[in-house]
């Protein structure tokens, strides 16, 4: 018995060492990004030990902020991600409410048409979507960056599943009291689904903030770039001075990192929820 306990504590030590090793492996690229971004230009980044030693400076950030449109790009990313998130949550929850709680003609057809959308990858639609944007004269506008991402079938699917779990009696009772459907939606269903909607919202925000392929195609005017489209321009322009692109990387990541630190628990629960439940 005693022997067994000893063995398991040895095993635990091994596990801790393994965990520590993995964490270091996973953190190193991010740490390196940060350390390099604080190293003065011309400083050494090839010798590992020198990365950790001063001088540290904020000059790279200053340089990036004054010599590029990064303010504008950050503003674009924020605007696009915020509007996309708010509208997506509103549109999908309205649709999910109707599909879950209202009986209407063609309900099944509508449901299946939306579910079919779960199967369509944007990657396979870039050419016709681009044509649609040309027809609507939306290329290089915020409309092009926002509109195609709003109709998120996954959002309808998740919220409908949530609303399905809300007892119908709640709805009947409110109806007998004479509440209109909009009131029922607003006063009962919205407050109930706050946490599902928050998870969906955080998710949509991060997806939109990090979206690459579509913004890369939809805007070619530098002042309309979002951060993910703009970041590669640093990489090609400063390939020999990696502290400049690294500073840009850090600036582009900080908002997402803040969201992550604040909502970490919800994000991870949100993933598990969309994946399995």
């Amino acid at each position: 018995m005693k022997n067994k306990k000893k063995k398991s504590s040895f095993g635990r030590k091994l596990l801790y060492i393994f965990a520590f090793f993995c964490v270091m492996l996973w953190l190193t690229p991010v740490l390196w990004m940060f350390l390099t971004s604080f190293t003065p230009r011309g400083g050494a980044v090839t010798v590992l030990s020198e990365l950790f030693s001063p001088p540290f400076s904020l000059k790279n950030f200053e340089y990036v902020l004054t010599n590029s449109l990064i303010w504008r790009w950050t503003f674009n990313s924020f605007l696009v991600a915020t509007i996309t998130t708010i509208l997506t949550v509103i549109l999908t929850s309205l649709a999910a409410f109707a599909l879950s709680k209202l009986k209407f003609k063609g309900r099944n057809v509508v449901f299946w048409v939306i579910i079919a959308g779960l199967m369509v990858p944007v990657e396979a639609m870039i050419i016709p979507l681009f044509q649609v944007m040309i027809d609507l004269n939306l290329l290089n506008t915020y409309g092009a960056l926002i509109l195609p991402n709003l109709a998120l079938p996954l959002g309808v699917f998740i919220l409908k599943q949530f609303y399905d779990g809300v007892p119908n009696e709640l709805m009947e009772a409110a109806r007998i009291d004479g509440a209109s459907l909009l009131r029922i939606y607003w006063n009962i269903f919205l407050p109930l689904s706050k946490s599902s909607m928050a998870a969906l919202g955080i998710f949509t925000f991060i997806l939109s903030w990090n979206d690459f392929l579509w913004p890369f195609l939809a805007v070619n005017n530098e002042s309309m770039f979002t951060l993910p489209v703009a970041i590669p321009t640093f990489q090609s322009a400063y390939s020999s001075e990696l502290m400049i692109p690294m500073a840009a990387n850090v600036l582009a990541s900080v908002p997402a990192l803040i969201v992550f630190v604040l909502f970490q628990r919800h994000i991870i629960q949100g993933v598990a929820m969309t994946g399995i439940k």
């Binding site: 393994f18 390099t36 090839t46 999908t92 109707a98 779960l118 396979a124 992550f260």
Partner: protein, 295 residues
């Protein structure tokens, strides 16, 4: 009275659905139909389309680069799926064990997933960069003096793309596995312990079988994602050396937007569309089966 309620409910339902359905029709349903139309035409921006029947599909089939790009995508699916599943499961087991600080470890593994693909690619390009890259520095510090050109050798370039992808996305699979692990009743483990089963034995006869359905789900999700590969090679290797890491999505982009052959690019899109639909359909089947089991 009842009839009247029915009618107004129809109307109300459509009013609730309208905002979503309008956007959905305009930017999802219509483009799919439009893409199908384009794939049967010679199509360029600003030029009247000419109907050419199956010509684009013929061009596509005879194009060796199309097959190479499709092959590259398949190759990535085959090499990335097992690695992402195995490492994801290992991580989930680690953070599910009764160690201190697992919340922190879990967050660390998930962290790269929130970085934009451009940031991720930029960091890894500089890690793999010859002479001044982080990897070269590490190798130098342990005595490897030979310079390795990670991103310009076709085998190593795929390895670099794979490593970057694993680092970036495996946290997502870990979370799915973790959710699955937490659904396994504790009594099963207690029973196994009483029977004197060791950790390995417990893993084989309790953990793995219980995770079977989640493994299926992750295989399907991962396959769909790997078929959509674009950003990692585009940003890290440019599809090179030569065209050896150029995936299908990148070739569609180049055909359509650089060579301006939107028709051929659309027929290639339909191949991608068809492949992902098969896997997405399997995924949906899986979802609905699980939902019925829950009820």
């Amino acid at each position: 009275m009842k009839k009247w309620i029915g009618k107004s409910e129809n109307l109300a339902a459509y009013l609730f659905l309208a905002p979503f359905l309008i956007i959905y029709a305009l930017f999802m349903v219509y483009p799919i139909i439009r893409g199908f139309f384009i794939s049967f035409h010679t199509y360029q921006v600003g030029v009247e389309p000419i109907f050419t029947g199956l010509e684009n599909y013929k061009t596509m089939i005879e194009d060796a680069y199309f097959w190479e790009a499709l092959g590259n995508t398949l190759y990535f699916v085959v090499i990335s799926t097992p690695v992402l599943i195995a490492i994801g499961l290992l991580m989930a087991l680690l953070v599910n064990s009764k160690l201190k600080g697992t919340t922190f470890v879990r967050a660390t593994f998930f962290l790269p997933f929130i970085l934009s693909i451009s940031v991720m690619a930029s960091v890894w390009v500089f890690i793999f960069q010859p002479y001044t890259g982080l990897l070269t520095s590490i190798l130098l510090s342990i005595g490897v003096e030979q310079d390795i050109f990670w991103l310009t050798d076709d085998v190593l370039a795929w390895m670099a793309i794979l490593v970057a992808t694993v680092w970036w996305t495996v946290g997502f699979n870990m979370i799915l596995f973790l959710a699955g692990l937490q659904e396994i009743p504790r009594e099963q483990y207690e029973a196994a312990e009483i029977d004197g089963a060791g950790p390995f034995r417990t893993f084989i006869s309790i953990t793995l079988p219980s995770l079977k359905s989640i493994i299926v789900l992750i295989v399907i999700l991962q396959t769909i994602n790997s078929f959509k590969l674009f950003g990692q090679p585009y940003l890290m290797t440019g599809g090179g050396p030569g065209t050896s890491t150029r995936p299908l999505v990148q070739y569609i982009y180049e055909k359509g937007f650089i060579e301006q052959q939107m028709g051929v690019a659309s027929s290639m899109s339909y191949v991608l569309f068809f492949i992902t639909i098969i896997f997405a359909f399997l995924q949906f089947k899986f979802f609905s089966r699980r939902n019925e089991e829950d009820k």
